[in-house]
Amino acid sequence: LRAQVQKREAALQDVRAKIAHTRKALQETVAKKKALEGSSPQ
């Protein structure tokens, strides 16, 4: 059970890391999009 818990915690950690990474990427993407919208010619 300990091993399962550890494994599950590790997996959860991975998912959370993935979430953090995805969220950061999303923020960067949104920022880039806004910057492009701001700089794009009308």
Binding site: E9, R16, I19, T22, L26
Partner: protein
């Protein structure tokens, strides 16, 4: 005495040793250590496994009593059992805790997976939008760059076209000025300026040649200037030559007309023609002999054809002043003959007027027997002298 005291001490020590508590069994020590280490969790663990907790407590108490009673073997056995029960109690508790934790983790993971999936979806969506936006921006940049490049190219082409247009315009202006100068020179030719204004005409020709050469060398300002000078010279040559030419031309024209008149006049039937110059004045004299009978002032019949011919000749050459002079033979009084001859001239005047001749140019006179046409000594000569002369006058 001393020996007795020592023996008493040793015996007393032995007794003391025999009556003292033995060392705590290590199983019991292990139990106490484990219990102390899990002191915080034991109440909860005891709730989960009350039987095991109670048995562990009972066995540990028994083992402690047996230890105090110096029953070490039993103490160790019961302490070991108590340790096993306690470990089992703790293990069950831990197992439950782990299961709960595992369940919690599963829930959290599922939630995290769901969140991750949502974020991934959002990210993909935003990335797609970003890619499209980037594509749009790139396309706009490319389009703007193309537009700017085309604009620059167009500007460059326009500048070239303007320069070419300006050059062509200058060339055209030069050609026009040369053409104007050529026309001026041709105009000068029409009045024979080379003959009557040789210097100006030659200068115009030279400048025109210079203008043409400068045009070929694309030296438009020089070509235009030369062409303008050529035109001025040609105009000047025309101005000088024109009156001289016109004078000459008029003279030639008059000469040709006089010659034509001299050719046409003898073709009239019943007349005699002679040229009778008097000083600068030239006179073409058309004699109509035997036009009258003796002293009759009226025209004798049979002369209509002759008068028609004379009338047509007068109309054909309308610019000549013309005298209509009547004559007689020399038999009679001079005053009487003059009157008859004047009447005869008037009769011819009237006949010509009837035939449509413009009579304002006609001057009528009678000279009697003056200037006989032939000798009056014979009747035939006198008949011929009864005549009228139509005199065309010119220089």
């Amino acid at each position: 005495m001393k020996l007795r005291i020592s023996t008493v001490v040793v015996v007393a020590g032995a007794i003391a040793l025999a009556c003292a508590t033995p060392p705590k069994p290590r199983e019991l020590e292990a139990f106490d250590t484990l219990r102390k280490a899990n002191e915080a969790t034991l109440p909860e663990a005891g709730k989960r496994s009350p039987d095991l907790a109670a048995e562990a407590d009972r066995r540990s108490a028994t083992a402690r009593d047996e230890w105090q009673s110096n029953d070490l073997a039993e103490s160790r056995r019961d302490a070991l059992i108590a340790l096993i029960k306690l470990k089992s109690e703790l293990a069950i508790y831990e197992q439950e805790q782990l299961k709960t934790r595992l369940q919690t983790l599963s829930g959290q993971q599922a939630q995290a997976e769901e969140e991750s999936a949502g974020l991934s979806k959002d990210l993909a969506s935003e990335q797609e939008k970003l890619a499209l936006l980037q594509k749009y921006v790139d396309a706009r940049k490319t389009a703007d760059a193309d537009k700017q490049r085309l604009s620059q190219e167009m500007t460059s082409e326009q500048q070239k076209a303007q320069a070419e247009q300006q050059r062509l315009s200058q060339e055209l202006v030069s050609e026009q000025k040369i053409a104007i100068a050529q026309l001026a020179l041709r105009t000068a030719d029409t009045v024979e300026a080379s003959k009557y204004a040789g210097a100006e005409y030659a200068a115009a020709g030279d400048m025109l040649a210079s203008a043409t050469a400068e045009l070929k060398q694309n030296d438009y300002p020089a070509a235009q200037a030369s062409a303008e000078v050529a035109k001025k010279n040609a105009d000047r040559a025309t101005e000088i030559a024109k009156p001289l030419y016109e004078q000459a031309a008029q003279s030639n024209e008059n000469k040709a007309r006089n010659e034509a008149l001299a050719r046409d006049a003898p073709a009239i039937t019943g007349v005699k023609v002679r040229i009778d110059p008097r000083g600068d004045l030239q006179r073409l004299v058309i004699v109509i002999p035997e036009l009258f009978k003796k002293r009759d002032p009226n025209i004798a019949p049979g002369h209509d054809g002759t008068l028609d011919g004379v009338a047509e000749l007068l109309k054909k050459y309308p610019s000549y002043p013309v005298q209509v002079i009547g004559y007689t033979d020399n038999h009679g009084k001079s005053t009487e003959l003059i009157a008859i001859s004047a009447a005869r001239a008037q009769a011819v005047y009237s006949a010509l007027a009837e035939r449509g001749v413009e009579v304002k140019r006609l001057m009528v006179s009678g000279l009697g027997g003056e200037d006989p046409f032939v000798d009056n000594r014979s009747a035939a000569g006198r008949a011929k002298n009864n005549r009228v002369e139509i005199v065309f006058m010119y220089h």
